[in-house]
């Protein structure tokens, strides 16, 4: 018997509210119970995973599913199973993100105000393919105190169902409501859940640009995540040759399908005959296809006909093409890079703000002033100086866990860790005689004045 979307959402909210009196220690214990239960159910889970794999392989053989997707389903080979278990332990050992006091003031004698971090409420998380994400998200939700409704990809349905059952049995041994983590299986359920803004507080889509954009356009609930990752690197007038080569090549080839891979290279015009041919060499040798504007293309052609016998000479015909205007608006997600010549730092900043996706952008420069101007002027979640855009990642930033990367400016921006799953509440405690009332405050004689003294945060919450 399956519940209606409204019942699922309402149950999740009730579970969230009931969980407010459960301690953080108990939530952490629930994570360890989940790990234990996963170990106990390993055979059943991997058997289900085998069935998903067999079906996916048949679909792939029939040309109805892309092969890389099949590989992403696999929980049985390599270190994937152990990594999944380790992830649960890692999240369990992170500091408790609830109860952190971020503002504390005495409004007057015996009247203390605290701003305390607390979970947001009910999360709806939608993802594709990789079945271990269900465990990862359940762990993040438990650690942060948010109830969650999870929907995985249909290709991993059997594995996901087995994982969900495992999580439920583990939760049954804790003080948390079992409905704290729920899963749904169909696209129709997700569509219905997206209209439950009365109960669901945040939607986190993790998947293709198309998935994210569709969800952003079909709900009134706040959506956290990113569609495009259109990152740029600007080679400033004062760029160092080696830094330019290393940073651009790494940002492009380290993992071209990632959202933080570079898609656009902006080259200051003064570098066309100096650094640019070297950077292009390094990219071409790494099998990168270059879509160039007219000046950068001309510079390469000129350079390739020089007697120094650059690799360019042989690769230019197969790997270098004129850029169409769309090239600068396209997330290639492959070994393709759009190149554009700019007359100034200001033009680079303007290009990025207009064409980019406000994800992560980088300047290669030896000038502190140019670096600082770029950092201020570029309106993106990440603004880097002489470092690869690939550093934009919650683990690399030191968050210990990553929910996703947000290109929104509201709530959380950039890589999102547990902190991004928190909100806060204001706690006002009166310990005065007769309680505190605003009628006693004012500018008139005999009235009290607000003191707003910073206080030591000592609230046990």
């Amino acid at each position: 018997m399956s519940l209606s979307a409204e019942a699922i959402a309402q149950t999740a909210k009730a579970a969230f509210e009931a969980s407010q009196l459960v301690s953080a220690a108990e939530r952490t214990r629930a994570l360890l119970e989940i790990r234990k239960e996963l170990e106990a159910n390993k055979d059943a889970i991997l058997k289900a995973n085998g069935e998903d794999m067999a079906r996916a392989e048949a679909e792939a053989a029939a040309g109805r599913l892309a092969s890389p997707l099949v590989k992403r389903l696999d929980l049985r080979t390599g270190e994937k199973w152990d990594t999944m278990l380790q992830g649960v332990t890692d999240i369990a050992s992170l500091p408790d993100p609830t109860g952190t006091i971020t503002y504390a003031r005495a409004l007057h004698d015996n009247l203390d105000l605290y701003r305390v971090s607390c979970p947001i409420g009910v999360l709806l998380v939608i993802f594709e393919a990789r079945p271990e994400v269900i465990v990862n998200i359940a762990a993040l939700a438990l650690k942060s105190g948010n109830a969650a409704i999870l929907k995985g990809g249909k290709e991993s349905a059997r594995t996901a169902a087995e994982l969900a059952r495992t999580i439920q049995s583990a939760l049954a041994r804790t003080a948390l409501p079992e409905a704290f983590i729920q899963t749904v299986e169909t696209r129709a359920e997700v569509t219905a859940l997206l209209s439950q803004d009365q109960y669901i507080d945040l939607v986190i889509p993790r998947g293709s640009n198309a998935l994210v954009r569709e969800i952003q356009h079909s709900t009134r609930i706040a959506v956290m995540g990113h569609a495009d990752g259109l990152c740029a690197i600007y080679l400033d007038e004062s760029a160092d040759r080696e830094k330019a080569k290393r940073v651009v090549v790494d940002a492009k080839i380290d993992y071209p399908a990632a959202c933080n891979a570079v898609e656009t290279l902006l080259v200051h015009q003064s570098l066309l005959e100096t650094i640019w041919p070297d950077v292009a060499d390094a990219l071409l040798v790494a099998n990168v296809k270059l879509l160039c504007d007219e000046p950068s293309l001309t510079a390469l052609t000129a350079s390739s006909s020089s007697p120094t016998n650059r690799p360019i000479a042989t690769l230019i015909k197969t790997h270098v093409f004129p850029a169409a205007p769309e090239a600068y608006k396209t997330e290639h997600l492959s070994l393709t890079l759009a190149v554009r010549t700019v007359p100034s730092l200001a033009a680079a900043i303007a290009h990025i703000n207009e064409h980019g996706s406000h994800h992560t952008d980088c300047i290669v420069t030896e000038s502190a002033v140019a670096g600082s101007t770029f950092v201020r002027g570029v309106d993106s979640a990440g603004v880097f100086v002489n470092a690869s855009t690939r550093f934009a990642d919650g683990f690399r930033y030191g968050f210990g866990a990553e929910v996703g990367i947000s290109t929104g400016r509201i709530h959380a921006r950039g890589p999102v860790g547990l902190e991004g799953l928190m909100t806060y509440k204001y706690v006002l405690k009166s310990q005065g005689e007769g309680g505190h009332i605003v009628g006693e405050f004012g500018r008139e004689p005999g009235k009290k004045l607000y003191t707003h003294q910073p206080i030591e945060a000592e609230l046990t919450f």
Copy 2:
């Protein structure tokens, strides 16, 4: 010649981007220029205000406009003009909310990550009636570095136009683009602007519940604010009689039309014959109408027939009525209070989470455990112990300025000051030889490991 909504929004975004290189000091100077220009234009502004007033008075006389609204338009009497000017100076003197570092880690030697506060982008602020709000919001936008598009009430159109012209002339004497603050005059423009999610980052409606709800339902842009303010006070088993009386009466009568006035009183059943009649007395004497559930009503009737001759005896017929179920879902905004008896603290928490608007709720108790349970269990922006709900206010909290009060859980919650108008960006600075690339990091021998050492925040931004 008036611009299209798209052109207005696009111009605002361009002004925002251009302003990123303008210093905070220059933005503060702009505030002082605005104050100067307001003083210089005082006569013209107050003349326009007189015209708005005359028209509004005629509308009111014809029964087409509520009289309190006419009063709210007035900039000419009392201290309103001076208060408006002082508000600009006060906001100018607040600390700069931009450039605050909230996370700083060395990812490795010479690779430093900073999370730095910065403005969100373009705000669309919609408000009603009081024309001085335009100056207040313009000042908040300038201080926080956000570009703003403002729309006031049609009743104050002449005053608003004059104030907007004044702000523009002041901005023309600064390094900021004049389009940093724009105003629009028609409802149709607002409707068109609500679909400009490409350029507008945050909508802040300040006005009636109907206005806020309509806007929340007609845009994909994030909306910050609140519709209902359905605040409750719970009198716990261990409540102190005097605290109960003082806090409840203040929360109800101090300013009944405010969103933080109490609308529901929950009484623990053990208090029905002890504290409750005294609290009711105090409310009735203050001319409050009580909508009571059966037990609280019976208790009052019994109490009124006792020989102690309480004021209840005379007021009960005119001021006490049985509560319909809707009473607990209604924001009365008047001297009316819904009263319900609850069997336990848990029932009080459940009532508030289900019926309330997650704005501000209070417990009156002498028990630290009950206070802490209430604070954890009630899922509201403000959770108070023995203090009037009327304290929920940015100025009272010590923020210096208030944008509004948010009942959302995403981004900002509760009273919102300048901090609620900020987002952040991650700045990653490499000062290493050859820049930094992720390809050099990993677990393999010879690769670098992330260190994530906390560092002193020394970024000049």
